[in-house]
Amino acid sequence: MNKPDIIPEPMPADYATDQEVRWCPGCGDFAVLNQMRKVLASIKAKRENTVFISGIGCASRFPYYLDTYGLHGIHGRAPAIATGLKRMRPELDVWVVTGDGDGLSIGVGHLVHALRRNVNVKILLFNNRVYGLTKGQFSPTSFPGQISRSTPFGSVLEPLNALTTAIAANASFVARAVDTQADTLSEVLHRAAAHKGSVFVEIYQNCHVFNDGVFEYAKDKKTRADHVVELADGQPMVFGANRDKGLRQKGFGLEVVSLGDGVTEGDLVVHDEQAAEPTLAHLLAAMRHPEMPEAIGVLRAVERPTQNELMGKGDAPMKTQEEADRDLETLLKGKDSWVVE
């Protein structure tokens, strides 16, 4: 602690606290934490101006491990806490860390409204498709068939899609990354840090203890390329270990095609992060393994006025103490007072 306040050439370790990191060995959260520290160092984030806010869950212990300001809140409410803080302290960089239970079950209402308001906070949802901290119940993102402590015979429900939910809430920045895929995660976090407006990032995160391997298709170095499509703005959507597959428009949908045999990159959909309508983003968000490759990277990044810009317009300008006192006296007196002598 008491590290130098302005870190000339900050190192990831400068953002670490002295608290022992308490996740299970093998937990995907470690990778995200390390990447976060690196990104903070890379963008030279001022520790004093950075705030991490979380709910409750394994993921939500994140703030304890970053030597910035931090608030470990209650289950599901981090976006609302962040909204209040950001409204009053627009100059701070506010990050929210949440889980699939925290953010999409108990907290989905706050999530949706923070995104709709375009509150300028960066929301990272660690999706491990399970309740980690409470030891393994199914979550809103669990797949049918998942055996968990609360579904001993297998879950039956269709999952909620984090990204389409965020897009429907009119989120201005929507992305997906994978805990151990350092390059895209780093890229997405950098982009998130730079975006003006609410950021929503779903991070596929392995819960080693209660849902091990659920994202293996997207993590395994050998198979990954065939199961995910890494998005690049303005680029055609090519994927595959040999970059021999792509996504082509079909009606209002997308289909996987093999390149060659007359199909060229020119036939593929070109990614457009800033499309006027979020249709493409919706389609990309909805692609589900194993039928389709899953989209990794930035699905959508548009500019629209933030809550602070919108509401801030009406904020009173700074006054001197005297002006403020005088204004208060005028207010107290009101318009229809009378004097008793």
Binding site: E48, G73, G84
Partner: protein
């Protein structure tokens, strides 16, 4: 409107030629359909009465939070005012003059009448349709059921229409002027100056419909006055002399308005910005509405997606160093419980306002009750104490907010304030303070790291408050949360001894508020048969009952408890000085239970849970019983 009645429209001081009798105090009640403008008429009478130098108290009696078909019982809206030549403490138990705009209004309000009261009805509204809507089998104006009252059957609707005919207003708009006719009649009856209302009409309607609306209202008002002057049914008018109020500048404020001013003043006194986050709910919504208009005062309002978001947004804002305030009513306060536990754990300052209404559940949403005291005190999981205050009437809401913020910041704790629908909507004259009369609230944020080691977010000062270090301050980076934490460092700790220590510390810190609050003051003898211990909005009824009882020679005193947690230091001693401690409360005995639990004084509740405030009479009766030794509670 200006400071004093202006005369920028044609002056019309009209003087009656009939005899004038003097009265010390008068209670008037307007009632009619929700659309009849009774609240407007009431507000005008309040204002002109205040300008006439009377002391006043008012009570708007809204219909429940539902729409009702025109003319039905459920749709009746009332407004009661007492104005007097002496100190006024309540809107009055009984009504001297009732204005009933339709049969439904008469039916639901007849029970308020004092024997011999004047009843002014709009005779035109007592047609078959109106009577049927109100569920009258026979016309009450004709079946003798109003015997004993002085009934004036004024054809209000037709005379209003006549009066406004030349303004060119349509039928509907013309009928909307009926309340001004009735108001004019009342002005005649109590010798009120019409000028302030004429000014107010101008200011409010001004150019609407090319000035026709203002003209209609003006004409109706005058027509009402003239009707009073000419009708043979009224033999005399009345005059209520000015009261002797302490000198100063006054204005008339509802509790919610006073509360808003108090918040803004508290922010100013502490050099802070108000962040008010709330979700609409009756009867707290007006706080949000009033504050939303005060952007120029630096106020920021946030209508959140629900009550949980509003209180958690406050937690975020408080962490950021703002003056965070949230307000709601019972159901919403219940929803905030979990987050308030976090606020207690985080030891951040915050004000939580509960404008109590009838419960449980949706209950009686527009009606006053004091049934959330135990919720405020104990409605959180774990041991999560917080100070609880209750303003003793509309004007006191102002001071209570300042006090709440002083306690919250001095002790680093959320503070709960219990208002109620009666206090929130009731109005009384309020002496406008000079800013210099108000004590500043010193709030500091540490700005530099300690020399001797890491910053300790849970270090404590002599009052056990922790430092309020805010994000943006280099070197004070720290993390807080809802898990138990080691005192000092604030690091998570499961140490049993530390948990006991922190539990005790949080409790002692709240107890320390005793050092910040005044002693309980007694009105009346220092010892005696009965101490009437009121709390919150029951102030007026308690005080008036005790005043009357004392004129009857009874040995009774009154104290109004504004500090429900912790109790004032001297409370146990004071309570011990009386044979009986009587706690009138609009619940089933919540405060008396806390007193028995904490002070082991056998306090007894005078309990009422009817969605209505106490009448003076109810309290007086109980005082008399107790003094007479009938202790049957």
């Amino acid at each position: 409107m200006n400071d004093a009645p202006s005369n920028n429209t044609k002056a019309m001081t009209r003087v009656t030629h009939k005899p004038v009798a003097e009265r010390r105090a008068v209670v008037v009640r307007f009632c009619g359909d929700s659309g009849d403008g009774m609240q407007v008429a009431g507000a005008q009478l309040t204002y002109t009465s205040a300008l006439a130098g009377n002391d006043i108290a008012t009570f708007p009696d809204f219909p429940a939070e539902i729409r009702a078909p025109r003319g039905t019982l459920a749709g009746v809206s009332g407004f009661q005012i007492q104005f007097a030549a002496d100190e006024v403490l309540t809107p009055g138990d009984e009504v001297d003059a009732l204005v009933a705009m339709n049969p439904a209004a008469l039916k639901t309000n007849v029970s308020w009448l004092k024997p011999g009261a004047t009843v002014i009805v709009d005779d035109d509204a007592f047609d078959d349709r109106g009577l049927r809507h109100a569920g009258y089998d026979a016309n009450p104006l004709e079946d003798g059921s109003l015997e004993g009252f002085d009934v004036l059957r004024a054809p209000v609707t037709s005379l209003t229409k006549e009066a406004v005919a030349e303004t060119g207003l349509g039928r509907k708009d013309a009928e909307r002027c009926r309340n001004f006719f009735a108001l004019g009649l009342v002005y005649w009856l109590f010798g009120r100056d019409m000028q302030p209302t004429l000014d107010s009409i101008e200011a409010k309607f001004g150019e609407a419909e090319g000035g026709a609306v203002a003209a209609g209202a003006r004409k109706a008002l005058n027509a009402g006055w003239s009707y009073g002057e000419t009708t043979e049914a009224l033999e005399r008018s009345y005059i209520v002399p000015a009261a002797k109020l302490p000198p100063g500048r006054y204005r008339n404020l509802t509790g919610n308005e006073a509360l808003v001013l108090g918040l803004i003043a508290a922010a100013r006194l502490s050099n802070k910005t108000v962040f008010y986050a709330a979700y609409p709910i009756t009867p707290a919504s007006d706080i949000l509405h009033h504050l939303a208009r005060q952007r120029a005062q630096g106020v920021r309002t946030f209508q959140a997606e629900d009550e949980i978001a509003s209180v958690t947004a406050c937690i975020g804002a408080a962490f950021g160093g703002a003056m965070a305030v949230t307000g709601s009513s019972g159901p919403g306060i219940a929803l905030k419980a979990e987050a308030l536990g976090l606020a207690v754990m985080l030891e951040l300052p915050m004000i939580v306002i509960d404008v109590q209404r009838g419960g449980p559940s949706t209950g009686l949403p527009t009606k006053p009750e004091q049934t959330d005291l135990l919720l405020a005190m104990f409605g959180r999981s774990g041991e999560a104490p917080m100070p609880v205050l209750a303003p003793a009437g509309p004007g006191d809401c102002f001071d209570t907010m300042i006090e709440a913020w002083r306690i919250a910041t001095r002790l680093m704790t959320p503070v709960m304030v219990l208002s109620d629908a009666f206090t929130a909507n009731g109005a009384e004259p309020w002496r406008v303070p000079e800013l210099s009369e108000l004590e500043r609230i010193p709030v500091t944020h540490p700005e530099t790291p300690p020399e001797d080691g890491p910053f300790k977010p849970y270090s404590r000062d002599e009052m056990l408050a922790r430092p309020w270090a805010v994000p943006g301050t280099p070197g004070l980076e720290h993390r807080i949360g809802g898990l138990e934490k080691k005192d000092g460092t604030g690091n998570i700790s499961y140490d049993p001894a530390n948990h006991q220590h922190m539990t005790d510390t949080r409790a002692r810190k709240v107890e320390n508020a005793q050092a910040l609050i005044p002693d309980l003051e007694v009105f009346g003898p220092e010892t005696g048969d009965v101490l009437v211990l009121g709390w919150g909005g029951t102030f007026g009824a308690c005080r008036e009952a005790v005043q009357i009882a004392r004129t009857e020679g009874l040995s009774v005193a009154h104290a109004q408890l504004r500090h429900l947690n912790p109790f004032p230091k001297n409370m146990r001693d004071i309570l011990g000085n009386y044979r009986h401690v009587l706690v009138p409360e609009l619940n089933s005995g919540q405060l008396s239970a806390v007193i028995r639990a904490r002070l082991e004084v056998p306090a007894r509740s005078l309990s009422k849970v009817q969605g209505r405030p106490f009448t003076v009479h109810e309290i007086l009766t109980r005082i008399r019983e107790l003094c007479a030794g009938e202790t049957t509670a």
